[in-house]
């Protein structure tokens, strides 16, 4: 025991741990910095999960061509604990994104970004974007059909940039097409470049936290005045401050344990996201979809008028980054209490509502044709008339139902047709089907006169009446 103590004492003396590290751990923090302040350290904990699980995964993952997919299958289905590890890496990423956003929201609501902590906020914003970059590149490393097509979409989006667009797109792809050099690039970015930036960013962020101290809980009667803030802060700390370790830190560790339990529990009970089909860019039955934290952006891009698309694709990330970075430049003094900052509260409420609504839209993706739609069942057709039955078959066969919903069946890209018989006359139906309309192609070339007549006859039966009770149109039959 004595021998071990003497070794530890020697190490402490030579390394300077007690002289340098312990004062940092025991630096004085405000005593009211309680549960609100645990999200930053929990984000760091999630990052540690990512680093450790990522290193373990990298010992088996093969970042090249189709071997990547094979190695992922091995990790998921055969390797001991591989499934759990993939799950931890996935839910760790989710936790990191969510916690970083909660941490930033808390800092924004409490105006902790004001003097003298402007750079803390700015470095945090950059870190958030790098974390999102990690999430995106990580999704691509799940190198299945979805990964391949997501790279293609990313390259197409970058290709919209004026002048340098094609060069950026080809730099992303590692050539002019998806191939052997594509995945290796994203692997290098995901495993070396972005983590390096995160380590550097966290280092700067923590250094700034130590330099300027943890902000206090906002009080209505304590607005920030750069002229005397530091003196007042120091004076208050002297009176009521407590050492970070262990008085404040225990909450961080307890919360981090809860986060860890959630990550490991989710990985254990739900497992990692399922792998899609193999990464073959000639396989056309793919429907690329980003991971859930990008669904809101996916929804925005899908619902924009086409003329605005390029501006939003290229501009939104830049405007988002700059808009967040300049927050403390626009206002670095004055009130911190949320009760005195209704615009800040409103911004958060509006932002999260928009994010939630868009995320739900992104999940439902009503703009996408439903290729898997089944033919209308007899109960929905609700007629034994041969023309009506044939018309019902045709609306499925000709792809109408990919975009239009009829009595609960079909896609949502176009307007529902359950009551089309009431909204359009026979002549209008014929014109619309033959000529097309807003966002609808013309079917004149793909329908015979008989087919058109039967389709119209069927559509006329869609009057919005309860299916099965009324089925025969009141109008006359279309002549063939």
């Amino acid at each position: 025991m004595k021998f071990i103590k003497s070794i530890l004492g020697w190490l402490d003396d030579r390394s300077g741990f007690s002289d340098v590290v312990m004062p940092i751990l025991r630096h004085v923090v405000p005593d009211n910095a309680r549960w609100w302040y645990v999200f930053g350290s929990a984000t760091l904990c999630a990052f540690a999960v990512q680093v450790i699980s990522g290193i373990a995964l990298a010992t088996t993952y093969v970042p090249g061509g189709e071997a990547a997919y094979e190695s992922l299958l091995y990790i998921t289905n055969e390797a001991p604990l591989g499934n759990l590890l993939r799950g931890m890496h996935y839910y760790g990423a989710t936790a990191m994104v969510v916690l970083a956003i909660i941490h930033m929201t808390q800092v924004f609501l409490h105006a902790a970004y004001k003097y003298p902590r402007e750079l803390n906020w700015m470095s945090g914003v950059v870190l958030l974007f790098v974390v999102l970059g990690m999430s995106f590149t990580g999704q691509l490393l799940r190198w299945d059909a979805n990964g391949v097509w997501s790279v293609t979409v990313a390259a197409e989006m970058a290709g919209r940039a004026p002048l340098v667009g094609p060069a950026i797109a080809h730099a992303i792809l590692g050539g002019e097409t998806v191939g052997g050099s594509t995945l290796t690039r994203f692997f290098a970015i995901h495993v070396f470049v972005l983590p390096g930036l995160i380590f550097a960013g966290i280092g700067l962020h923590l250094w700034l936290v130590l330099r300027h101290g943890i902000s206090e809980m906002p009080k209505v009667d304590e607005p920030v005045d750069p002229a005397n803030y530091k003196e007042e802060y120091e004076a208050r700390l002297e009176k009521t401050g407590v050492p970070f370790w262990p008085i404040a830190a225990w909450r961080d560790t307890v919360f981090s344990v809860a986060v860890m339990a959630l990550i490991v529990g989710s990985a254990f009970f739900f497992g990692p996201p399922a792998l899609g089909t193999s990464p073959d860019p000639s396989e056309i039955n793919a429907n690329p979809m980003p991971d859930w934290y990008f669904w809101w952006y996916f929804a925005i891009l899908s619902m924009l008028p086409p003329q605005l698309e390029t501006f939003v694709i290229l501009g939104l990330p830049v405007v988002g980054l700059l808009g967040l970075i300049v927050v403390p430049v626009l206002s670095n003094k004055g009130d911190r209490a949320p009760s005195r900052r209704p615009w800040a509260v409103g911004t958060v409420v509006f932002g999260f509502t928009a994010l939630l609504v868009l995320t739900i839209y992104g999940y439902k993706k009503p703009w996408s044709p439903d290729f898997g739609v089944k033919p209308l069942p007899a109960s929905a057709v609700a007629s034994s008339d041969a023309a009506v039955v044939h018309g019902a078959e045709l609306v499925h066969q000709k792809g109408c139902m990919y975009c239009h919903e009829i009595d609960g069946y079909g896609g949502h890209r176009g307007p529902g047709l359950s009551d089309i018989g009431q909204r359009l006359t026979q002549a209008e139906l014929i014109i619309r089907i033959n000529n097309g309309g807003y966002n609808m192609p013309s079917f004149a070339a793909s329908l015979t006169a008989t087919e058109l007549a039967d389709m119209v006859t069927f559509l006329e039966t869609r009057t919005g009446a309860v299916v099965g009770k009324e089925s025969i149109p009141s109008g006359g039959r279309v002549s063939k």
């Binding site: 391949v148 730099a171 002019e176 073959d280 000639s282 192609p441 793909s446």
Partner: protein, 174 residues
């Protein structure tokens, strides 16, 4: 050189300034030497364009007149470890004895794979609902341009499609 005492202060300042610049300059040189080759290496795909290649996609008899079929072939930039990822595809339609059109499978909106809906005679994109007529012209949805086409030829009874870059909406490579 700096013999007098009052000159030596100035002399030291000059020396420090010189050494300062020298060290910064050399550090910059070292930095450039270690970063330029890797940066150039990473960006090399931008300058080294692979030669296009004609790929055999099947015999004439495999393509009935008027039908549109998916053909799959290796692109030009295949690397030894690429495997399936070096594959690409085209929608090939036979118009006449030796006449074909090969459409790119990439939607001109954001590059997603378009599907041929035979009965509707339409190409449809699953991502954002882009729709094209059978001649590749935009029929509905957000695509700003018609489907790109690949060069096709018939040699000794074999249909060949020329490899091409992924069509980007902002350029006209294809």
């Amino acid at each position: 050189m700096c013999e007098k005492e009052d000159e030596s202060v100035q002399c030291n300042a000059d020396r420090r300034s010189f050494l300062n610049r020298l060290s910064l300059g050399l550090a910059g040189l070292v930095g450039a030497a270690m970063s330029l080759p890797p940066v150039a290496y990473v960006l090399s795909p931008l300058v080294s364009k692979p030669p296009r290649k004609w790929r055999d996609v099947g015999g004439l008899e495999e393509f009935p007149m008027g039908e549109t079929k998916l053909v799959q072939f290796q692109d030009a930039t295949s690397t030894a470890w690429a495997g399936d990822t070096a594959m690409t595809g085209a929608w090939l339609r036979r118009l006449g004895e030796d006449q074909f059109i090969a459409f790119s499978i990439n939607c001109r909106h954001l590059g997603c794979p378009v599907r041929w809906v035979k009965d509707a005679k339409l190409f449809m994109c699953p991502c954002h609902g882009g729709v094209y007529y059978e001649d590749g012209a935009v029929a509905a949805g957000p695509p700003p341009e018609a489907l790109a086409r690949y060069p096709v030829r018939v040699v000794d009874g074999k249909v060949e499609v020329e490899t091409s870059p992924i069509p980007l909406t902002t350029n006209d490579v294809v």
